[in-house]
């Protein structure tokens, strides 16, 4: 399958007005100096393997640049000067305040806003829209603030615990749920923060964006894929909790920790990825059917 079939935009190159080379070069140099610290801190987080939550950036960022390269520069250049200035001023303001308050997420987001400002000035709105996917991927590559992670983790832990306990009950194993502690005969299973499923949820959302951009063409199908990725991740994580309890009860208490638990986690992760791929395929099929229906010749109807 070639890139065109995958929905990847075909590379188009346009020549930038030579008079803009020097202003662009100067602006890029200043941008690099201004954002050297946020960029360094971002790469440092991506490569901090003690915190695997941030590591997806190592995959997403190169992909973003590759997609930007593949898309290339549009031929029609109509700079959006007012919007560009607004973006650049906003980026500077956020960069300044976020630095003062040591707020990493907004500091990093300001880098994207600044980049968008430069694109708007030198290439125009159409170029920014053409590079939506690289921008979305770079946005996803920015680790969520700890506060947001903490806020999301607790409810996800409880949901996963509830789903797990319901499935255990369904299999006629006596179970008592106390917050995120699942009690089965002889064992207390603690659904820890790491089991909240947030990591698999973010991974599935990232994959949903990639699959949506590469395979699907319609906004509704791309959004559907993203929306479906959320309950899928939650349900599969709940099933993982059930599987752990099932194995602990029937096989060995060691299934609740260590190598077996990790392997089981990876297995569920692969299943989640495959499931999302399957959903994307169904959406692709529906899109195909709709396209075929749209192209079908109008049948003569005999009203006779």
């Amino acid at each position: 399958m070639n890139d065109a079939a995958l929905g990847v935009p075909q590379r188009r190159t346009a020549t930038l007005d030579q008079a803009l080379w020097v202003p662009l070069g100067v602006a890029l140099a200043l941008f690099a100096v201004l954002y050297a610290k946020p960029a360094y801190l971002l790469v440092r987080d991506w490569t901090n393997f003690d915190n695997p939550d941030s590591g997806t950036g190592l995959l997403l960022a190169p992909l973003a640049f590759w997609f930007a390269f593949q898309t290339g520069v549009k031929e029609v250049r109509k700079p959006a000067i007012g919007l560009a200035v607004a973006f650049l001023l906003a980026a500077i303001g956020i960069r300044y305040v976020a630095d003062l308050a040591a707020e990493l997420f907004t500091l990093r987001v300001s880098m994207l806003i600044g980049a968008a400002g430069l694109i708007l000035w030198f290439f125009g709105v159409r170029q920014l829209l053409a590079w939506w996917l690289p921008f979305v991927l770079l946005g996803l590559a920015i680790p969520l603030p700890e506060l947001v992670i903490a806020k999301l983790t607790a409810p996800l832990q409880l949901i996963a615990s509830r789903i797990g306990a319901s499935l255990i009950e369904w299999r006629h194993i006596p179970v008592m749920l106390n917050g995120n502690v699942i009690r089965i005969p002889g064992h207390d299973l603690f659904v820890a923060e790491a089991c909240s499923g947030l990591r698999s949820l973010t991974a599935l959302v990232n994959l949903g964006v990639l699959l949506g951009a590469m395979l699907l063409a319609k906004p509704w199908s791309r959004i559907s894929l993203l929306v479906l990725a959320v309950p899928m991740a939650i349900l599969i994580n709940g099933f993982r909790i059930f599987l752990t309890a099932f194995l602990v009860y029937f096989v060995s208490p060691e299934a609740g920790s260590g190598f077996m638990h990790t392997t089981e986690g990876w297995l569920m992760f692969v299943i989640a990825f495959a499931s999302l791929g399957a959903v994307a395929s169904v959406l692709l099929y529906i899109e195909g059917r709709q396209a075929a229906r749209g192209k079908a010749p109008v049948q003569d109807v005999d009203h006779g």
Binding site: A27, V33, A102, G117, F190
Partner: protein, 226 residues
């Protein structure tokens, strides 16, 4: 596009660099009274000072702190930590106990927000409460952020105020105030015993918090004017 207007983005970015140069001119107010003097005695309790080792201090980044255990008949009843930061910047800022405490096997199982009665200053004047569990052991943690005239429990509001005050007054000094109360379940993990112990911990925290907030307020620099 006129020759010079092409350089507008470069001019804006250069202005941004200039603005960043001002970041280092932040005010770094020191406490009015030593942080170690906060809640130095509580009637009916013996106290024991705990040192934070140098590597943990470097990671936490606080400029002054008090870390004190309160004992009754040699039994650990509760502990107090107040960490004060004269200024906050990248690599030197208050870490939320919500993210730091659940290390070493401790996991939050319950959370709530409790009011601090007759607390001084402005802000929500609430404290966060977390019940943590670790292999059958439980502890209640109560904490809030205090500084620049505010007492705040909501960490988003804390961040917003930090950015606002940094931009308006060049001030980011703040203290994290934290009480930890172990729940004495004696191995009994029944709901009844845990609930009873949480109620006891709440009672200790809510009775101490107003005095603690006032003493912290008296030790910290006055709120910025304007």
């Amino acid at each position: 596009m006129a020759e010079l207007t092409r350089f507008v983005p470069a001019v804006i970015l250069a202005a941004g660099l200039g603005l960043l140069g001002l970041t280092h001119d932040q005010v770094r107010p020191t406490p009015v009274r030593p942080i170690a003097s906060i809640l130095d005695t509580v009637a009916g309790f013996d106290t024991k000072q705990l040192e934070v080792d140098s590597s943990s201090r470097r990671v936490a980044g606080m400029d002054e702190y008090v870390n004190r255990v309160f004992l009754r008949d040699t039994n650990y009843v509760f502990s107090l930590y107040v960490g004060y930061y004269t200024y906050q910047t990248q690599g030197k800022s208050i870490h939320s106990p919500r993210n730091c405490l659940p290390g070493a096997g401790w996991e939050p199982v319950e959370s709530a927000v409790l009011p601090i009665a007759s607390a001084p200053g402005i802000g929500s004047r609430d404290m966060n409460k977390y019940i943590l569990a670790n292999q059958g052991a439980y502890a209640a943690v109560y904490y809030w952020y205090q500084g620049r005239g505010r007492i705040e429990s909501n960490e988003y509001t804390v961040k917003y105020n930090l950015m606002r005050d940094a931009a308006l007054y060049g001030r980011t000094e703040e203290a994290l105030v934290r009480l930890v109360i172990p729940l004495d379940t004696r191995g009994d993990r029944s709901q009844e015993v845990i609930r009873r112990e949480i109620t006891r911990a709440d009672s200790i925290a809510t009775s101490l918090a107003p005095r603690l907030a006032r003493e912290v307020s008296a030790a910290l620099p006055p709120a910025p004017q304007g």
